[in-house]
Amino acid sequence: MSVLVASIGFGLISTSILAIAAVGFTLQFGVTNVFNLAYGSVMTGAAYAAYVANQFGVDIWVSMVLGGLFGAALSLLINRGLYTPFARHGLGLAGIIQVTLALGLILENGLQAIFGPSYHSYQMSQGPSFHFGSMVFTAVQVGIMGIALASMIGVHALLAHTKLGKAMRATAADAPLARSCGIRTEFVTDIAWLLSGLLCGIAGVILVMDLQSFTSTTGSNFLVPVLAAAVLGGIGQPYGAMLGALIIGMVSEVAAAVTLPQYKEVIAFVILLVVLLFRPRGILAEVASLKEVVA
């Protein structure tokens, strides 16, 4: 029983990292319709940016912010310099996915060329451990959960209570109509890439802070559960991504406690398939669509 209870606590940590990454992914997809498979490599790039800062003696939490900013800048650059020109040339959805896949590999190999094939770690301490019954969290993990909570509240506040958020939702729902209503959709798209990149970068750094060791493929390895969380919740739906992250994160950990651990990811994906069988657009897709109509 204590392992089961502990696994729920561990699930909170997994969920936190997954939620930040999945919300960043789905936010950008919702506004721009680009299924960005280079997302994992951008996460790794941000982790390396934070690593460089950390090696110069910068505190890991400040390095995390720098990593987030790096992710934001890189994402904007990628869209402006690569995806948008391809889209202007009429490349379709499948073609763009190929471009993102190729870019991911280029980034991954570029990072390997710069930093080498070996593993790296941040100069940081996990801090003291806190016990809540059977659950154990280090200070860093508590910090990670706090960042995730703050990020989710921030995204909610942006989308629900700001003009920019409403403009993003309008662009996501119907970009030509939003443009005809006077919304600067290109500016909104830039903001979406920046915000997505910021969350992507932060997720990359806190993933490594939790793993404590990383290499050029670390972010790409994490991409599959990120996509699963985003798709499970309803691709393009930030609240759905939060819920998807919670389900994937919790199910993986609890499955490892009550079944054979090597199948924990398999069980999470079986649940993903079952859910998509009954709700092909994800758990919150219909709910979110209805809300848009009512609003």
């Binding site: 561990f10 990292i17 997954l18 593993y119 790296h120 770690s121 060791s213 390895n221 950990e253 651990p261």
Partner: protein
Amino acid sequence: MAAGCIPAVNLINQAGGVLGHKLECVVADTRGDPADAVPAASQLLATQSNLVGILGPSSDEADATAPIFNDSKMTMMGDTGAASFDQNAYPYFWRLTPADDVKGTAMAIWGRQKGFSHAAAVFGNDIGSQTDVPTLVKAFTKLGGTIVSNESLALDQGDYRTEVARMLATNPDVLFIEADAQTEATFLANLKDLHGLIPVIGTSLDQAMYQAVGGAIGAQNMHDFYTTIRPLIGSLGTSTKTYDQALLASGSQVPKPDQWISDPFCPAHYDEVNLLALSMIAANSTTPSTYNSYIPQVANPGSGKTLVYSFDEGQKALAAGKQIQYVGASGFIDFNKFNNSTTGFEAFQFQLDGSTVSLGTIPIDEITQANS
């Protein structure tokens, strides 16, 4: 593999080559899976007219490609610990790499010698890691210990906290582990955070493993808690020094050659090339179907044989009409009737700078006895 082949070929060519021929290392990319390896093997045989021997095949594709090379009567030095070759029936397949299942027994012996009685076995769910598990469990139990937890890990997960909690619930006094570097690093970091480390017996001496695990748990903890069981390297004086010097001198062909100094497989590949070359000289032929049967003649111990520690020493002794026993940089070689040579294992401890020191050896006789 190049870090073994290139230094050997350089020294052989400097010594005049083999029967007047210069050797060259040629790369054939099997992409690590049988589907790509089979056409790659066929292409290699069809396009390399001067092919005289093969280093490989490797674990991922040996079962698929070994029959192809064997049917073509092409001598190969298998780079696989797969148990399917323990009783190898291919006459052209030879193996210096110890079988994976033997490694499991060696781990168990070392654990029991150190007084551990309640062990957790945590291995990656890949075939290479899982091969160790049955013999580890069997030998550890036979030697009076108990495996209290036996878990397989899905590789490269974001965390292993629940798996660690499951393991800790069984109160092990030692952890046997084998997985890729990222997985081991994450698992051990989670163990450190949740409970604190317990003695760990692993199987890798790679610098990648040191960087990943040492970075995750700290170099001091890696030194204090982590022991690695690897094929016996030993300190064999001349052959090891000759290999090390040749490796370091091949910097223009082998990037960062010093990184391979402590890798146990590179000296084995170096030895494999020397064995091929010396058996060609002994057979007075570079044709595999002719020289193949001479391999044990130049490698295995025997009365009246002259010990040689390099290709140059070996060719001179053969030219003088002597019977030779090549003592390799990877250790003594003694092929059995299945063309397998296993000479024992050695325990290593990582130092704070990433180098390793030997803690002791596990003789092959002891392993055979525990495995019986």
